[in-house]
């Protein structure tokens, strides 16, 4: 079977006779067993829409019908999708789109382009009001590529391919030789482009992740029982001290993800990480804290030393704005040596993209708590949800440093002349003395506490409780803005 992408290219979409790709089958796998109830759709639309339950909660969904003309979208099908999105908006419930489509139906010409444009407009209208989750199960070409990209979360199944123009057009225009998987598969979008948030292991895994993420995104704003927070958490004693998850040597890099897991509730799927392999020096994802869904943001020192850079700033910005849209509180785990220096960074717009991060945090109205585990320096200190940007609370572990830069580097600049004048024998002792003095007056936690930019120094073992308490003190709010795909 062949169909035609918006670019005019023929994208082959093969569908086996035994329909694992039947939209009814796919939608019934998305929902709780037996809960899918299809809406009336016109027979020629090549789209199935309806609602059902995900973990007992009503959710709207649509699926392009890959068994007919490769799921090519015409005006009728597009109108059905718009109808499903509008219905979800009316119900105030999430909408999940299952995509397997070669794009606009060529036979309908500009009418199908108009229809696809209307889908985009409906998605943008709903953006930030209701969670929109896309699962790409097969090729999503041309117009079908931008549909998922406008939603909050894009999940890619192993057969999923996302591209604007397919391999044939790429070859004829640029001479580049590449297949569909290379152009728009898991490596392309999971690691290089950042288009895809979640790369799934199978179609079943993709639908399971869509269910979990839908539940987390739709659970924002639910306030925990205050009494429950104060109660002793028996599991806490069994789990290792979070402080023990940092390396002994303060200069040593480490993977922050075990620490993120330690701060979240345990469970079979405790953390749904987004864009794990793209801009991996920042970790973002959803989990639960005392049962309440939260968004977590963490610097990851094992990649680029945990430095912020242009891509990680953009990654965090979009995540913050998504969580703010849906009322999900934020937990920001900070261990950042600064912004990554370099010509390439400056030229690719680290200032422009870093500005998005400042904007996203300062704009966010959800409760947002910062935990500084080890260090927070310079412009990156400000950007990582500092007090100045309106953090609900800033907590720090006892050994943490907060400063314009590391004390040793600062002393090297401030006391360059006396250090240069000292003899080689005297220099280390002088350096040590100056570092101590500098830490006391400018860089230490005590100074941060005195200024009020840090609210409390906490025992790492109390981290979960202290973060949860701080989140609970703030009113449950959500931002009133869309989630533009920054």
């Amino acid at each position: 079977m062949a169909e035609v992408a918006a670019s005019g290219e023929r994208v082959r979409v093969t569908v086996p006779e035994q329909d694992v790709r039947s939209p009814y089958r796919r939608l019934s796998h998305l929902f709780d067993p037996g809960s899918f109830s299809p809406y009336q759709v016109s027979p020629g639309s090549r789209v199935v829409t309806g609602h059902g339950l995900i973990d007992g909660e009503v959710t709207v969904a649509f699926c392009t019908d890959a068994t007919r003309m490769g799921g090519a979208l015409g005006a009728e099908g597009a109108a059905e999708i718009v109808g499903a999105i509008d219905e979800a908006l009316r119900l105030g419930r999430p909408v999940v789109g299952l995509w397997h489509s070669g794009g606009a139906s060529l036979g309908e010409g500009v009418q199908s382009l108009d229809g696809i444009g209307r889908i985009f407009a409906a998605m943008i209208h709903a953006s930030g009001r209701i969670p929109q989750i896309s699962v790409v199960l097969g090729p999503a070409a041309g117009g079908a590529a931008y549909g998922p990209a406008l939603t909050d979360v894009v999940i890619l199944a192993p057969s999923g391919r996302v591209f604007v123009t397919g391999p044939d057009v790429v070859r004829s225009v640029t001479g580049e030789q590449i297949d569909m998987a290379g152009l728009g598969g898991a490596d392309a979008h999971g690691r290089r482009s950042g288009v895809v948030h979640v790369v799934a292991d199978s179609e079943g895994d993709a639908l399971a992740r869509a269910r979990r993420i839908t539940t987390l995104l739709a659970g924002g704003g639910a306030r925990p029982d205050a009494g429950r927070l104060a109660a002793h958490d028996p599991d806490e004693d069994r789990r290792p001290d979070p402080g023990s998850l940092l390396p002994d040597r303060p200069r040593r890099a480490y993977d922050v993800r075990p620490l993120v897991l330690r701060l979240l509730d345990e469970g079979r799927h405790p953390f749904e990480e987004f864009q794990a392999r793209w801009a991996p020096n920042a970790v973002v994802g959803l989990g639960r804290l005392y049962g309440r869904p939260v968004g977590v943001i963490a610097n990851n020192p094992i990649r680029k030393g945990g430095c912020l850079d242009s891509l990680s700033a953009e990654k965090i910005s979009r995540f913050v704005r998504m969580c703010d849209s849906f009322g999900l509180p934020l937990v920001v785990v900070v261990d950042v040596p600064g912004y990554l220096p370099g010509v390439q960074q400056e030229w690719e717009g680290v200032v422009r993209r870093g500005a998005k991060l400042l904007y996203a945090f300062a704009e966010a109205t959800v409760p947002r708590v910062t935990l500084v585990t080890r260090k927070s320096f310079g412009g990156a200190y400000i950007a990582m949800n500092s007090r100045s940007l309106g953090a609900t609370a800033v907590l720090a572990w006892p050994e943490a440093q907060v400063a314009v830069m590391g004390a040793e580097a600062a002393v090297g600049i401030l006391h360059r002349r006396p250090l240069a004048a000292a003899s080689d024998d005297e220099r280390p002792a002088l350096l040590n003395r100056l570092v101590e003095e500098h830490t006391r007056t400018a860089g230490g936690i005590d100074r941060g506490l005195a200024l009020g930019v840090i609210d409390a120094v906490i025992d790492p073992a109390d981290s979960r409780r202290r973060i949860a308490e701080a989140l609970a003190t703030a009113p449950a709010r959500r931002g009133s803005h869309g989630n533009i795909p920054l």
């Binding site: 200069r251 040593r252 890099a253 993977d255 680029k304 430095c307 600064g338 990554l340 040793e408």
Partner: protein, 75 residues
């Protein structure tokens, strides 16, 4: 396809921790860089056998420079 492990940032090569022929798992450190006052391990994402180490201790690497090549284990 062989995994080409490249530097993610400008750094000094502080330690080379594996040798050619060593087998490594996904997430294992191949080399430790020193940059931004941090010791930053360069890790193999896929694991396999180290086919080549392209740097020596003390080298300065730029963003994108080849650090090592790891061949996947057959099968």
């Amino acid at each position: 396809m062989a995994e080409e492990v490249r530097a993610e940032m400008v750094a000094n090569v502080w330690k080379v921790v594996v040798g050619v022929g060593d087998s490594v798992s996904a997430g294992d450190a191949l080399v430790i860089l020193d940059s931004m006052k941090m010791e930053i391990p360069v890790i193999s994402e896929d694991g396999g056998t180290v086919a080549r180490i392209a740097v020596q201790e003390g080298d300065v690497v730029q963003d994108g420079d080849l650090i090592a090549v790891v061949e996947p284990v057959a099968g």
